[in-house]
Symmetry: C2
Subunit: 415 residues, 2 copies
């Protein structure tokens, strides 16, 4: 039995035990993780320093090193996250429906853990702890597959979690990590249908594409966000400018940042020049359609590719549209079903945009930056789903569960 | 643009229109389908006769021909099904949650159609009509890919639906069928991510396996049912026998039929011989573990493969177990997460089985045959999910929807 089969089967066994755990048993284990993480912080940081050294000597970029780096503050943030998670209600066991059939059968629909969750992710070691803790709180076993650049850090963090599980009397195989660094093992991981109930990729577009193309295990797609803001005719300039600047510049590298600005022709005539100047002053490079380009001498032309691109940078594609309907059509054609916004004073236009646009979250007079499990009040987030099955938008603890039907009878048979 | 791209893009456009349809608009179209189906019944039957002739001349088995065949009674059953569907409430538009954030943003979670649904199925022409009608009622566009053996029948049925859509003033591309008969087109259909939001295979284990292995579009797995009945110590003989006989013989070729009988050793000592005789008298071939074999001279030995097999026939694997826990472990090892039953007088044993077994539906003192969208009261069924994401067990109209978050503000930005 190779590593995948072995860890898969161990995870499955642990998941069956985890399904029966009470909320307080799971919380005690999470509290124990806090203690162990604080106790073993220096060991984790040492291992992280070795990963960082390796990454530096192989010439990794500063942004990459920053994502990889841990420090006492980041360890404390992990502990804080765990403490918040402990306070969240456990969704498992809830009866989400119940009814009686004419034949006397009584049906209960009960929320249960999904089972074994595979997480495939890049060089952000905080995902190791966050994902494992979320899966545990929802009664699932997790099998992690992180980046080889962060492997020593990840192994240290998983050792911390397993020690805590052991001390709390829970199955240590609720948290496991694949150690084989080969690319081939990832492909096989994604086909481990006998053991994995779902796989969640956490990372960039390429990781998600690779996962979807190779998985036979059901995938929860997360993350890619080609988000739009549409400014309708008659929209308030100050509100529109505030929202666009926030959605583009507040944190340009995240998925709920805006990538394309659509502007109604009437509003454009009056206000677009001022807005483009404000964006430029904020360091944003605008890539403009012909009509908007005319307003900003020297602005770069937008290409078809720009409408499709999630820049994740201080770049914004800009397009003037004839109508609300043209804006909706643009969003539905180029959007990735993540977060979309309209700025308008018209309730009717807002409703039409919200109903006509196909996305996880649609905003009226607010920044797209709010799509986030914490902001939405879920208290946690395993990722933001951009697919339509199972869950859409921010996924918290509830989205890490499924349900089963419990049917009680007195000997009923089907006739 | 080839057939797949063309029909995919048409479906997507139609789906955007369908999302905005009212319940009464959708119901009027379904009523129109009833009228057209009755009016064009002779055309549909003619085309079906040609399919049957082709299947007969290529030497198809009687069971296959029976599934393929339509007749006035089966057409009437389709009409009856449509009429029932019209009476069901439309799930689309429902607000399934709403709350306000501290920053004043108001969030509504609204049920919306999934979008474009691909259905891949075998030679049962009733699926063509049932699936298209269900998708339509939930506001989705459907792209069908049936068996080439049923192609003329399917084309006739889709023509009927499209004519009805057209007469009702709805986009005809809400229902389309792929005409290219090649196997290669199926593989490409399963990767049509730009247009299909989900693909649902309806058919045998091989079709499902093929779908899962080739799809990059999210799949809703349906159907495979290796279901068990466990008879606990002290269970009432009459009730146990009635349930086992019903679950095995009432309709052996369907997915919720029982395939393995597990019996507690104490009960086996007292009652198993009588039960096996009753099964034999009902024409059931039992494949027995060593301990149960000793009770029935000449009974065939069960092999490892028998525990794994969905016989879909009058065959039952039989195993004596030491304990409830051994029964649960067997079910979790060999089951396909479909329907499982325990017969027991002990409420505690029932609860332990129901919580410990991982399946869509778990029965206490009732036949597994009840797992069915109509029986459960959903009024319709697109299939029975055996995966854990999105939906589990019988899937009705609600399971053909997803949701989106509508967020209303007054200019909020993220700080």
């Amino acid at each position: 039995m190779d590593e995948l089969e072995l860890k898969g089967s161990h995870a499955k066994r642990a998941a069956f035990e985890a399904a029966a755990l009470s909320e307080s048993e799971k919380n005690k284990a999470l509290e124990r993780v806090c203690v162990e993480l604080k106790d073993q912080a220096s060991f984790v940081l040492e291992q992280n320093a070795r990963d960082l050294e390796g990454a530096r000597s192989s010439g990794s970029a500063d942004a990459f090193l920053d994502r990889l780096a841990l420090n006492p503050k980041r360890i404390q943030e992990m502990v804080d996250g765990l403490e918040q998670l402990i306070l969240l209600p456990d969704p498992v066991g809830e009866i989400i429906g119940s009814w009686r059939l004419e034949n006397g059968l009584s049906i209960r629909k009960q929320r249960v853990p999904i089972g074994v969750i595979g997480i495939i992710y890049e060089a952000r070691p905080n995902v190791t702890l966050d994902a494992a803790a979320l899966c545990l709180k929802a009664g699932n076993a997790v099998v992690l597959r992180g980046s080889s650049s962060a492997q020593l850090t990840n192994l240290a963090l998983v050792a911390v979690i397993r020690e805590a599980l052991s001390k709390a009397g829970l199955p240590i195989d609720l948290a496991q990590i694949i150690e084989d660094p080969s690319r081939d093992v990832v492909k096989r991981f994604l086909k481990l249908k006998s053991y994995l109930d779902v796989v969640i990729p956490r990372g960039g577009a390429e990781l998600i594409r690779f996962t979807v193309e190779n998985a036979t295990v059901p995938v929860l797609e997360t993350g890619a966000g080609n988000c739009h803001i549409y400014i309708d005719q008659g929209a308030d300039y100050d509100m529109a400018a505030r929202i666009v600047l926030n959605a583009k510049t507040q944190r340009p590298a995240v998925c709920n940042t805006a990538e394309t600005l659509l502007v109604h022709k009437d509003w454009a005539g009056e206000h677009l020049q001022a807005l483009l100047q404000a964006l430029s002053a904020a360091g944003v490079e605008c890539r403009c359609c012909e009509r908007s380009q005319a307003l900003v001498p020297g602005a770069r032309s937008a290409t078809e590719k720009d409408w499709e691109t999630e820049f994740l940078d201080l770049i914004l594609a800009v397009r003037v549209v004839e109508s609300l309907e043209e804006a909706i059509a643009h969003v539905n054609r180029y959007g990735t079903r993540h977060s979309e916004a309209i700025v308008t004073n018209s309730a009717k236009a807002a409703e039409r945009f919200m109903q006509g646009v196909d996305a996880a979250a649609i905003y009226h007079n607010a920044s797209t930056r709010f799509t986030d499990g914490f902001v939405f009040g879920f208290g946690a987030e395993i990722g933001i789903s951009t697919q339509k099955l199972h869950a859409r938008g921010p996924m918290g603890l509830t989205e890490l569960t499924t349900y089963k039907y419990l049917v009680s009878g007195v000997g009923q048979i089907r006739s």
